[in-house]
Amino acid sequence: MAVKKVTARRVWITSLLSLCAMLVAIAILPLIGSAHIDYGRAIAGQSPDAEILFGVRLPRVLLAMLTGGALAAAGVLFQALLRETLATPYTLGVSSGASLGAVIAICLGGSQVWVASLLGAGLTLLLVMAVASESRRMSSFTLLMAGITLNSICMALILFLQSFASFGQSFAIVRWLMGGIDAVPYTTLAWLAAAVLPSVLYLFWKSREWNLLAVGEDWAATRGVSTSTLILSGYLIGSFLTGTVTALTGPIGFVGLIVPHGLRLTIGADHRLLIPASFFLGATFLAICDTIARTILAPAEIPVGVITAILGGPFFIWMLRSRSKLH
């Protein structure tokens, strides 16, 4: 199959189309739910439409979008950084650290679980960096080994804590680890947007360098890229994105895998196309999954991680099969 040339026009068109898909989702998804609402009545401030739309559904859709976009962009980044299409935002241990922080908070009966989760993510990030920097220079390999090791340690500690937790705590831990989107205050959304959007813009700005790194470290170095600095900045930004959204929603699997890989198959591997498209369509995908999660068995809700995994599992198998055919 021919791979299309990447031009500024193509990047703009792809980005705008993806943005339009996201805007359409923002317009439609808040209308879906067990209670029927009307935009006209909601905008006019009439009850209960205004409360349901602006107080519950819209913030939830926006949180799902920021989370989905951040995870998809981080997925693209980690796949390039590690030169592995099966890498996810969770491969390098930050989300396990976030989960460990959350589990400790749950076990101690703390109410600010997301703060503990953010602290856990930050500490793990520093530990992975310290271990990965032990060798002469930071490389994708040392980062991967350090990340996988810390990931295993955090998961072991989570299981250890859970084995001593009460029934209620254990339920809360399992629920948190499944991942879920809830309505959050607009101030929280504003802070999240302030963290996510500049990070994604930075990733987009460095697109051509991720292209080189996705081929190889020596390949990038012999084309003028300072690979150690680039790998370090990529790891920090990717982990920051992952840690921030995981602290609010818990780990939500497959978004960072399905969206980048599906897009790579359709629009190619160039990060100038992949990063904006992954952000906007990752946002759209998770918002749709969350709408399914909250409506399919309404009034009961399924954790969104279950929906992404149910959609992601078969996709993952198909991806492995197509990959083995190619090689």
Partner: protein
């Protein structure tokens, strides 16, 4: 002199892979580096490419130590053709070649000059027909030519090649060395690590033999390639004759 190495040595753990290598290279030279497996050829190339930094001695590009060169400025002068370059993602052959323009580009997109350099590099390496093909679907030899095109798109003053003919058929092996010879006439320094002694003898201006990490011979092909040097380094008896052009020709015998 474009490259100057003074007493360069390197260890991998306890094993010494290069010792006291003192060499200099000028523009316009086509140099072949030969030697048995583990002689230190690729390590030497890696040092000159700026990829191996923990060596002893001194390596200078245009009289400036390699460590003092900013990465980007260095890449505007020196490009590398690796022995093997796996690509995991679906980049087209043209995108792979365009990556060679990175040291010259500032913005998010390639300029018209970049496009022209890429088209020229693909034309002279006979890869234009693969332009839109997924790099991963190309044969080994086709990939190697695309990699060469990417290195040439860098418009280098020095081109370092690590066993560039490994995957090439006979036609493209000969075309590669003819292309290098022509580029060297225009002032390029081409340094090729190779195991094909006949290609080296036929096209190189100068052959360097490395053995156990040290330079054991350095000179014109007819000065360097003879029974004693080949036997001493490769532990193999061969028959060496003079070809029609006066260059040595190696018969491997049976």
């Amino acid at each position: 002199m474009i490259f100057r190495l003074q007493n360069v040595g390197m260890h991998y753990g306890a094993s010494e892979v290069l010792r006291n290598v003192t060499l200099s290279f000028d523009r316009g030279e086509l140099v072949a580096i030969i030697g048995p497996n583990g002689a230190g050829k690729s390590t030497l190339l890696g040092i000159m490419a700026g990829l191996r930094t923990h060596f002893t001695g001194e390596c200078r590009l245009e009289e400036k130590p390699l460590a003092k060169w900013p990465r980007r400025a260095f890449a505007q002068s020196v490009s590398v053709v690796p022995q093997l370059q796996p690509v995991e993602f679906p980049f087209s052959a043209e995108q792979v070649v365009l990556m060679g323009r990175m040291p010259f580009s500032d913005g998010m997109f390639e300029s018209a000059a970049d496009e022209a350099a890429v088209a020229h590099a693909m034309e002279i390496t006979d890869t234009l027909q693969f332009r839109t093909r997924d790099f991963r679907t190309l044969s080994g030899g086709e990939r190697q030519r695309v990699i060469l095109a990417s290195a040439l798109a860098q418009s280098p003053k020095a081109l370092l090649l690590d066993e560039p003919t490994t995957f090439l058929d006979l036609q493209h092996q000969v075309s590669l060395y003819r292309l290098l010879r022509n580029l060297c006439r225009d002032g390029l320094l081409a340094l090729s690590v190779t195991h094909d002694l006949n290609l080296a003898a036929a096209y190189a201006d100068r052959i360097i033999i490395l053995h156990n990490g040290a330079v054991v011979a350095d000179g014109r092909p007819d000065e360097v390639i003879h029974n004693a040097s080949i036997r001493a380094v490769f532990s193999t008896d061969v028959e060496i004759q003079q070809g029609p052009s006066g260059r040595p020709w190696i018969h491997y015998g049976r």
